[in-house]
């Protein structure tokens, strides 16, 4: 698997990471090595295998014998820790978290 410096810059851009040129150089080599190592997965034919996106308990092990999504009622509830959440914001004005201009 070839990983170019441009590839590294493109991934860093998608991930919103500012990297130094030294970091770009290191990650370029390391990502190539890791991806080459991962190539071994292609030794297994998975054309007839379903993906397992989770490791949740099978429904027969869960006493409710239910499967599928767990959803709560769409009902508004009062949050008790509003002030504690706002206190962690780097920039705050009144009860709002201040953000840089998003629309030109």
């Amino acid at each position: 698997m070839e990983i170019t410096e441009k590839d590294v810059e493109y991934i860093a851009e998608l991930a919103r990471l500012e990297l130094t040129s030294e970091e770009k150089r290191i990650y370029q080599t390391q990502l190539k090595n890791i991806l080459d190592w991962m190539e071994m997965l292609n030794q297994t034919d998975t054309s007839k295998v379903q993906p397992a996106f989770h490791a949740a308990c099978p429904p027969e092990a869960d006493g409710t014998k239910e499967d599928g999504n767990v959803l709560r009622d769409d009902r508004p509830v009062q949050s008790e820790n509003r002030e504690d959440i706002l206190k962690n914001a780097p920039d705050r004005e009144f009860d709002f978290i201040k953000v840089k201009k998003v629309i030109e």
Partner: protein
């Protein structure tokens, strides 16, 4: 150090006060932790007021909780209201928990005393705790060696006798591997047995919270407290029905041939086989099983875990909380990039890059989807093996604790140190690490028992019977 069970009993019987227990632990921490470095912060003040409240409860004649006066250390990725929680990362250096994790709340409800937060690999990414942005934690058995990771601080705190109990989190072995390296018990429960509410997300489909202790009874006590349904975690099991009573007589213990490979340390191999033979003497039947896709587990895991991490860690943007770097003319995107570039350490950035790559357009099928299919094959391996065996016995790690710096320059060699613990997380089953002796270097050696979902109590019983037979 008394066990958690003894502390709770003696506090209840007024033989000792919770405050005395706390003071003893604080004294040990003061004596040892400058050298070991297990704690990032000790909550002296809040712990003292908790202990006093427990003592008052006992004095007033009320029945205290199951963990009355038991000091518990928590890994620094668990929220505890009003206290700092950093994930050992610069990006969260000054973050104050706005609420308490479900597992920590359950401990407090049973009158445990939360004594402090322990060191870890940044965002739980690592196998040696060397990725902490703040400090090194040393292995109490030998200070030149790592304690394992990512929950290295919790493992070292228990192993050094600073606390009887600690919580950690395990995404690919982060409880079992450090427990094995430090010579204590460590449990990764069935996925969904313990609520993840208030655990900082790393890889949500793999993360589980679990205990460290010096005795199996303490592991059981702690697990019985922290497990249970929580509506705030949608993957929390609603009505868990636990298997009970594995009778060591005629219990089928599977030895997977893929876990006894070349490259495993000779003494580790010998100790694990000695444990197997002792189990056989107690009446268990040893049988060969095969988990044919084991060799693919580590690369599949690093795709799945890094993909989930790249998504979960998108929240650290310098806007809502944590580090925020900006200059006057910076755009919003600049704030994101600068904050994340400066706030995350190198392993975290490497995994975000890897995860972003495997989820990006054109590569999703080749990496992420492929890995999830391999994951299903690994799940299937275990399902077949558990038709033949009740419990699977393996080494916890291929070798004892390694030295500082030994694997830091080669990410793949670090990843491979988790080769025996990773498949368990991919399959969501239960896994426990048990100390089984010492290496000629003096470092601890451990075995791992893997078993079906919700068979924790049956395994605790089995270990208890086994230990009595020794």
């Amino acid at each position: 150090m008394l066990t958690a069970i003894d502390i709770a009993k003696q506090v209840k019987q007024k033989k000792i006060t919770a405050l005395e227990v706390l003071e003893r632990c604080l004294k040990t921490i003061k004596e040892k932790d400058a050298e070991i470095g297990a704690f990032l912060e000790v909550f002296e003040k809040s712990a003292a007021s908790q202990a006093k409240a427990v003592d008052e409860k006992v004095a007033s004649g009320k029945t205290p909780g199951k963990l009355a006066g038991v000091p518990v250390a928590i890994k620094d990725n668990l929220l505890y209201y009003g206290h700092k929680m950093t994930c050992a990362s610069r990006i969260l250096e000054n973050y104050i928990s706005p609420y308490t994790a479900d597992s920590v709340r359950r401990l407090i409800n049973e009158d445990a005393v939360i004594i402090g937060r322990t060191n870890m690999d940044e965002f739980a990414m690592g196998s040696s705790t060397e990725n902490s942005a703040f400090k090194k934690t040393k292995n109490p058995a030998n200070a030149a060696h790592v304690p394992g990771g990512s929950s290295g601080g919790s493992a070292a705190a228990v192993a050094a006798g600073m606390v009887p109990l600690a919580l950690g989190s395990d995404t690919g072995g982060s409880i079992r591997q450090p427990a094995g390296f430090c010579g204590v018990y460590g449990l990764k429960p069935t996925y969904g047995a313990v609520s993840r509410y208030g655990l900082t997300a790393f890889a949500s489909s793999l993360d589980q919270i679990g205990p460290f202790a010096t005795a199996i009874d303490d592991i059981e006590l702690c697990f019985s407290v922290i497990s249970g349904h929580d509506p705030k975690d949608s993957t929390s099991i609603r009505n868990p029905v636990y298997a009970r009573n594995f009778d060591l007589k005629n219990l089928r213990i599977g030895l997977p041939k893929e876990y006894f490979i070349r490259g495993i340390d000779g003494e580790v191999h010998a100790k694990v086989m000695e444990t197997a033979k002792n189990l056989e003497k107690s009446g268990a039947k040893l049988i060969d099983v095969s988990l044919p896709h084991t060799g693919y587990a580590v690369p599949a895991y690093y795709i799945v875990a890094s993909s989930e991490a790249s998504s979960n860690l998108a929240r650290y943007d310098g806007i809502r909380y944590g580090l925020s770097l900006k200059n006057k003319n910076a755009s919003l995107t600049d704030v994101y990039k600068k904050t994340r570039g400066a706030g995350f350490g190198s392993e975290v950035k490497r995994r975000i890059m890897l995860g972003t790559y495997s989820l990006s357009a054109g590569y999703y099928d080749a990496y992420y989807l492929k890995a999830q299919k391999i994951r299903n094959l690994i799940k299937g391996d275990f399902e077949s093996a558990f038709k033949k065996a009740d419990v699977i016995l393996t080494p916890t790690s291929p070798a004892p604790a390694f030295k500082f710096g030994e694997k830091t320059s080669d990410p793949i060699s670090m990843y491979l140190s988790d080769i025996f613990t990773i498949p368990c997380n991919l399959a969501g089953i239960s896994g426990i690490s048990m100390p089984c002796g010492r290496h000629s270097t003096g470092l601890p050696i451990a075995v791992q028992f893997l078993s079906k979902p919700l068979s924790e109590y049956a395994v605790f019983d089995m270990i208890r019977t086994y230990e009595k037979s020794l």
